[in-house]
Symmetry: C2
Amino acid sequence: MNKNINLFLISAFASFTLFSCNNSKESSKGAISTNAAEKVYVAPGEYDEYYGFFSGGFSGQLSVYGLPSGRLFKVIPVFSQDPEKGYGYSEETKPMLMTSHGFIPWDDSHHPDISQTNGELDGRWIFINGNNTPRIARIDLEDFSTAEIIEVPNSAGNHSSSFITENTEYVVAGTRFSVPIPQRDIPIKDYKGNFKGALSFIKVDQQSGEMDLAFQIHMPGFNYDLSHPGRGKSHGWFFFTTYNTEEAHSLLEVNASQNDKDFIAAVNWKKAEEYIKAGKGKKMPANYAHNKFDPETHTATHTMKKEVLVLDATEFDDLVYLLPTPKSPHGCDVDPSGEYIIGNGKLSANLTVHSFTKMLDAIENKKFDGDAYGLPILKFDEVLAGVVEQPGLGPLHTEFDGRGNAYTTFFISSEVVKWKLGTWEIVDRKPTYYSVGHLMIPGGNSRKPDGKYMVAMNKITKDRYLPVGPDLNHSAQLYDITGDKMELILDFPTIGEPHYAAAIKADKIKDKARQIYKLSENKHPYSVKSPNETKVERKGNEVHIYMSMIRSHFTPDNIEGVKVGDKVFFHVTNLEQDFDVPHGIAMLGANTSELLVTPGKTETFVWEPKQVGVWPFYCTDFCSALHQEMQGYIRVSPKDSNIELSWSLDDE
Amino acid sequence: MNKNINLFLISAFASFTLFSCNNSKESSKGAISTNAAEKVYVAPGEYDEYYGFFSGGFSGQLSVYGLPSGRLFKVIPVFSQDPEKGYGYSEETKPMLMTSHGFIPWDDSHHPDISQTNGELDGRWIFINGNNTPRIARIDLEDFSTAEIIEVPNSAGNHSSSFITENTEYVVAGTRFSVPIPQRDIPIKDYKGNFKGALSFIKVDQQSGEMDLAFQIHMPGFNYDLSHPGRGKSHGWFFFTTYNTEEAHSLLEVNASQNDKDFIAAVNWKKAEEYIKAGKGKKMPANYAHNKFDPETHTATHTMKKEVLVLDATEFDDLVYLLPTPKSPHGCDVDPSGEYIIGNGKLSANLTVHSFTKMLDAIENKKFDGDAYGLPILKFDEVLAGVVEQPGLGPLHTEFDGRGNAYTTFFISSEVVKWKLGTWEIVDRKPTYYSVGHLMIPGGNSRKPDGKYMVAMNKITKDRYLPVGPDLNHSAQLYDITGDKMELILDFPTIGEPHYAAAIKADKIKDKARQIYKLSENKHPYSVKSPNETKVERKGNEVHIYMSMIRSHFTPDNIEGVKVGDKVFFHVTNLEQDFDVPHGIAMLGANTSELLVTPGKTETFVWEPKQVGVWPFYCTDFCSALHQEMQGYIRVSPKDSNIELSWSLDDE
């Protein structure tokens, strides 16, 4: 019978997309107002109004878009190698991608969240999770680059992450898959009782932004799908949706859809802090990476941590409460006031809204409905604020406009539905093309959403753009939500699979963006401050080239005495101190990417020549009218040659 | 004295960019017409008019944009690893990046060119060069993916590439740097006489598009910068700009700017064909890779070639002629009629236009001016068609609108200048923001340019968009050129460094774009056609998983009997046969990227588990309402365990 639900959903999905493909061009075209072009057009020389930070999903990166233009300003490399920028290839950045499993060149980034002060976006940092090899990254919004990555132990599929509390006290990461904790060789059929979930609270230093895994709460073996912090009245709590409360381990699309209700887990993290302070946390061995990019040496360091503090939720009676929520809830969203906690049961006909006030009352008055998993389950009716009746098929996520309205996405019926908080009435619905996942309103995860635009991030693209073969970019749609009705104004394709996005008014951060790195502050051990300081040194079979680049010359540009079998380190410093004058460098046959070196920085790649000959290198970023002349040669002699190292000087 | 020219250029450049930054917002804003928004807006559900294919430059890829909207539809991975698509990480695609130097994860892609029939774009394939480790790639415009990569031997900095002749007889690749041919261990100071340039003519099969290096012409030790084919009356010839005819090897920005004139080398490739046919080509040992993606097995093969046919240009008196051209010419552009060959001397005050007719006459009447390099030099005045006087500073590239006008970019004075072919008068000039390199008019390298839009690809971005730190995307600008005056209508950021672009009317290719791969035609040796065919096999320490994916299930989804030290091959077939239903798969701790598998394909990654435990895998592309349930577990036992392989069946 439950298999039937599943088949129904799949067939509903299939027939819907068929239908929508046949009709989309006409229907979507008909809906576009005549001034939509003016609304999204940002004329040459003008600026967009918002920064939009879109997760890359299966690209592992974070993309920066302008809104309302939908233009892609930058892809910030985070969890994956990026040949364009040398990230994960240069000696300085490779340590960023080290984990307890070794060097991992890829991840699946999902949920960016901008730092907050007093529940409002402060635009200092943005955090994002790596889903596959569980990690959290912090990106600095001064130079728009990844400053830090911390691995999350005892986790797998780090999905209900990375959301931050309203003063950026914590960035929180919840496991999606439960796994044996600690990991061990046990049969998969012994899932129940052996597989557990971990919710990790990572402390953020209020000055530097540095992360530190403060504690983990261990939970029953559910899947933890999404989460959001409480805010305002509910600050101090964190809410997680769960599914697979059946604790199935195979055929999940059937076996994890059996229960009529799963749960939202309400975690009292201020209480957890008290328990930790009181010494109730258990130290548990754990191997996890903590990687930081040092802004002085321009080099990442990789260290391994060995221990984590754990609270087992089932050993405390006031740490975690379960709020019954129909049915396999996906999104877990908290309204700006902190009162309403919305669980979007993706297999449910209705939307369920819980009341924080009623939850506190139910806890105080012990309105429990058993504790099947070792945790108190609150009575459904005692925490229910209201229900949005039959709003659509396949609800996923909800955001808010700060004017008392909520906007929920429906994957199967492919639409966004606008409804009123408190009255639960539906006031508008608009189709999406096609099958929307997350949506985003700037400031969505804060006390003060900025309700001018809403972006739908769609999972299916099909015929929305000129066809480009079987592999398509995903697509987003921009809606003007200032009126009573939502108005679709732009389709724009996206990099990777943008699961979620965070946006901020440009005025809040644009004036603090860094333009260069000061050469005088460069503490890279192989940096040079002028062409006069350049040199080449041999240490056994290692050759270290201290090289400079400035328009339009490498110093040195001719090097001899390198031998087959050597390991040649190009340490290259860009001496420029003007904005937007990077130089690149590439070496024929190097098994790495180029380096793209920003003014004031030093970067390093390694070349292991395998053939004798004279091999060129050159600048890879068009830097001046004489860019094509910015080149050099390295002579490679046989392994047993006794030619000494020599190199050109500029006054030759 | 010549150093002074260089300093002048640098300071002119520096002061210009300073000036333009201070004034840009006002001046560019003032120039935007009120209907520009309507001109570039492509409403949701509507299609762009042109496909624009932009080289990725230091990204190594090829990007597909819509014009006039400037939206990025896709990044096609070509020469670099792409974690988003698994390119260069999957077992099937890794062979594409093999070279004579081993596996190279990156390159610098420069000049895309669309295949032609009778001098008009036919939209079958697009070719692009890898600059750093010299290669040419062919991209199939049915599925918009890289079909073939051929390495170019005896070359370095493969820059005057990859341009095609008017029936796609050849794709032509010229070396930028001269190197010892064959490579050998000689002092760099012995450059003159030992370092040579190679111009490679790669035959294209008219049916399949497959490439084959037909012959190389070896040339004096110049730098070969850019090239274009003759067309119409000059079909059968190919033109290459040269610089560093001084044959300097160090401080090139000074030493390669000494001569008042360098050359355009005019190569009679039909004559070369005759010589080859007559057995005049010399076989020379050469090691170079030829990699093809097999559309039936969905797998790339890498082979090494061992030999190349060579014509030494200096041994023939009618193969190559040198046209003197002031001064360090960069762009080498041929007008739609084939009569005019334009050399943009980047250090010259004027633009030099050669006449093909006069060139033939000068050859016939032996109007030579010596042969300093072993090649006939034609008399400058005898081949000159005309001069565009003092058009701007730092000319780089010229394109044509098919209405008798030429458009030349000026890097230093940061503008595009429109002038008339034949009268050489300047009829318009418009600023670019900032420092334009190439420009592109759809069909620019053909007999029939489509003169509606012109795109300027700028080298400096600075303040054109919201600031995003020291590293900025490059930027393009779209101009409407249908009127007498060019009209700037859009700024859009670009991926990598788009050196050049090629564009084609969408109607020419959009209807042949592939949507899926037929499962019935999948000949991958590890493919399955249904979940029933899935299995797991052990061969020593190799474990091969024949896995299927379909909404929303992996078969098998539970696997036991894997051991630490095993090499686990996930061979995953996407059984879907609907458009735009890819599935992804990722495994915790795999030192690779995910796989993103298109309907009907099979792809493979390898996982080498290092720790005992139970580790999850999951679908990385949101595929249905039950996507979150699309997951599985693999149990890893100790190396010496005797647990046999077992796996789940769907009816469990």
